[in-house]
């Protein structure tokens, strides 16, 4: 590693810019956190209390205790979200990996047409498909099931996952597989033992991407699900708190809990994510 001093002028503007970005991204989170530990009364008083005088974890305790009515409901929403997001991720990666590999390695008739048709979906905003998909789900009898959400999320997530992973496979020299096949691997073993380990960062990035998209999705979950039993967190949160007047600290506590898995996952795996998005931009 070489240590170099950057020019002072650029460094200062750079810092100001970064601090501004940080505030922009972090302030809402901080506000959410502050509000969540205040009492109902303190949360709505004016001028607002920036540093809570009587912080309390009451809301968190309530939300996370399975025995209370609200806690039970909240934990069920959370479980539903985990279930839907995990299934979406597993199926998404399971399909995207072989599809991206095929697009990257094999020359077959209609390859380009197929590849662009995969991306074609992304030309339209997701809401456009809300009614058609709802009607289709009704035909299939899937309304008010988690399957309807998993299928929908796959429809939206797969094209980007395939695109992302294909970039990864394109960057793995085909000679590595050829060498492996000569060294004693079958075609599948060459893929499994040589290509897979090299594409792990890409697969992890794709998994995070699928998971987060499914975890945060609101409109389809709101439309396709109607029984309280099935609701996922984003929809659940909203219903939950309009029913019992607006409990701001409670809502903020729930929002905070909801963002924890995503933030943790992102922090742990962010280096893979960054690599996935910049792969191909820079030669190794």
């Amino acid at each position: 590693m070489s240590v170099r001093r950057r020019g002072g002028g650029w460094s200062l503007t750079g810092w100001i810019f970064l601090v501004f970005l940080l505030l922009y991204a972090a302030l809402p989170m901080v506000w959410m956190l502050i509000t969540s530990v205040q009492s109902q009364f303190a949360a709505i008083q004016y001028p607002p209390e920036f540093i809570p005088s009587n912080p309390t974890l009451e809301q968190y305790a309530r939300l996370l205790s399975p025995s209370s009515e609200i806690g039970g409901q909240f934990l069920r929403y959370m479980w539903n979200s985990i279930y839907v997001s995990t299934l979406t991720t597993i199926f998404g990666v399971g399909v995207a990996v072989p599809a991206a590999y095929a697009f990257s390695r094999f020359r077959f008739p209609g390859r380009n047409a197929l590849f662009f048709s995969v991306l074609f979906r992304n030309m339209f905003p997701a809401v456009v498909f809300l009614m058609p998909l709802f009607i289709m789900m009704r035909w299939f009898g899937l309304v008010n099931t988690h399957a309807s959400l998993v299928i929908t999320y796959l429809t939206f997530g797969l094209p980007l996952s395939i695109w992302l992973l294909k970039g990864f496979y394109d960057n793995i020299p085909v000679e590595l597989e050829q060498a492996a096949r000569i060294d004693g691997c079958t075609r599948f073993q060459a893929f499994w033992m040589i290509v897979m380990p090299l594409s792990t960062p890409g697969i992890i990035a794709t998994a995070i991407f699928s998971f987060i998209t499914a975890w945060n999705e609101y409109v389809y979950a709101l439309t396709f699900l109607n029984s309280d039993e099935k609701l996922t967190l984003p929809v659940g949160l909203q219903r939950f708190f309009t029913e019992y007047a607006t409990n701001w600290p409670g809502l903020m506590a729930a929002s905070f809990i909801m963002s924890v898995p995503v933030v943790v996952m992102f922090l742990v795996l962010q280096k893979y994510f960054v690599r996935a998005l910049t792969e191909g931009a820079v030669k190794a």
Binding site: Q178, A180, I182, D183, G184, T186, L198
Partner: protein, 364 residues
């Protein structure tokens, strides 16, 4: 080690024919270079032998086995790639041991063989490193080592030296040749560099347009090229090829081109008699021609275009009518641009090509 035989091998991609009915036999222990310009089908041919591509028709035999339907892993071959294709997430030791591991050899035996190969290539101190921590030359050795540990029937090499810098390439060229001699290995070596082919190979297969143009020893490919393509491809500087026409003068023939003529000797006249028409191409290497300051019988007048001293030899580019030919001369020779000179030809090493068939004319 084993011999490799190709019989009428064809590779058709549908939209284009990459290899058109190629047949040749590489003898046990022989070093054969497949050489030609890019897109000539040499790498495709190598991949067909390796089994990385399927033949459209024809037969490939390694030793006494027909291998067309075998997977690469069952053909008992080893391959060295241009970009080395070392497994980036494995150490050098694991890279070398991988082919043995796939053959389910016991760990102790793998370790012994890996260390033996590493010792041979002088890379023992690198065994725990990963490929990206190695220099180009070291990676090259590891790639060679991975081919070596297996003790395969045939070594296939796809431009293994072209990613190295010029100096290292010359050094590795010598090492590879020595390695072939010591192991008595059968090697099929693809290169676009005719000099590599000439210096290393026992025999050279020159390819162009998916067709095997000539398969012969380096000396014969150099001295007796089958056709215009081989004549122009092999040798540096390239053979001078000048379009001309034949005129019969009693028993002998005279080659004529714009503004000059050259009477042929008896042997070349017999060759000229085989031509299918009057149009021919005259071929002469720079070393078979000489420059003179005064005219004489059998010399052709020309005008110097430019002079290139290289130290050992001086190359004079001379206008012969409208074409330029390169003639080598002793560095002491005094020649200046635009000077008039006379060129003499060593007729025993002159080549005549039929302009229509592109083939070299042979006596009788």
């Amino acid at each position: 080690m084993a011999q490799v035989e190709l019989r009428d091998v064809v590779k058709d991609y549908g939209s284009f024919l990459a290899v058109k009915s190629v047949s040749f036999t590489v003898k046990d222990g022989e070093f054969v270079a497949l050489v030609g310009p890019s897109g000539c089908g040499k790498t495709t041919t190598l991949n067909l032998i390796a089994g990385l591509l399927d033949t459209t028709s024809g037969e490939i035999r390694i030793g006494d086995r027909k291998v067309d339907d075998l997977d690469p892993k069952d053909r008992d071959i080893a391959m060295v790639f241009q970009n080395y294709a070392l497994y980036p997430n494995k150490t050098v030791h694991q890279n070398l041991g991988f082919p043995l591991k796939m053959r389910k050899l016991p760990r102790k035996e793998i370790d012994e063989k890996v260390r033996a190969a590493a010792g041979l290539l002088d890379i023992t101190h690198l065994l725990e490193r990963r490929p990206r921590e190695l220099s180009g030359g070291q990676q090259q050795r590891v790639a060679l080592g991975r081919a070596l540990v297996r003790d395969p029937q045939v070594f296939l090499m796809d431009e293994p030296l072209s990613n190295l810098d010029a100096k290292l390439r010359v050094q590795m060229r010598a090492e590879l040749k020595r390695f072939h001699q010591d192991l008595n290995a059968t090697v099929i070596y693809v290169t676009h560099d005719q000099l590599e082919a000439m210096t290393m190979a026992d025999r050279i297969a020159v390819m162009e347009g998916g067709i095997l143009q000539q398969f012969d020893t380096p000396e014969r490919v150099f001295e007796e090229p089958n056709n215009l393509f081989v004549a122009g491809f092999v040798g540096s500087p390239a053979m001078n090829l000048v379009e001309a026409s034949l005129n019969r003068d009693a028993d002998a023939f005279v080659v004529e081109s714009d503004g000059w003529s050259l009477p042929l000797d008896a042997v070349n006249s017999r060759r000229a008699a085989q031509a299918t028409g009057p149009d021919i191409v005259l071929g002469a290497r720079h070393s078979t021609m000489a420059l003179h300051h005064e005219p004489a019988a059998g010399r052709v007048e020309g005008r110097v275009y430019t002079v290139e001293p290289t130290g050992d030899l001086t190359y004079a580019h001379v206008y012969l009518g409208k074409s330029i030919v390169v003639v080598s001369a002793d560095p002491q020779t005094r020649i200046k641009p635009d000077e008039t000179v006379w060129i003499s030809f060593d007729q025993s090493r002159l080549h005549l090509f039929d302009a229509r068939t592109k083939q070299r004319l042979l006596p009788e």
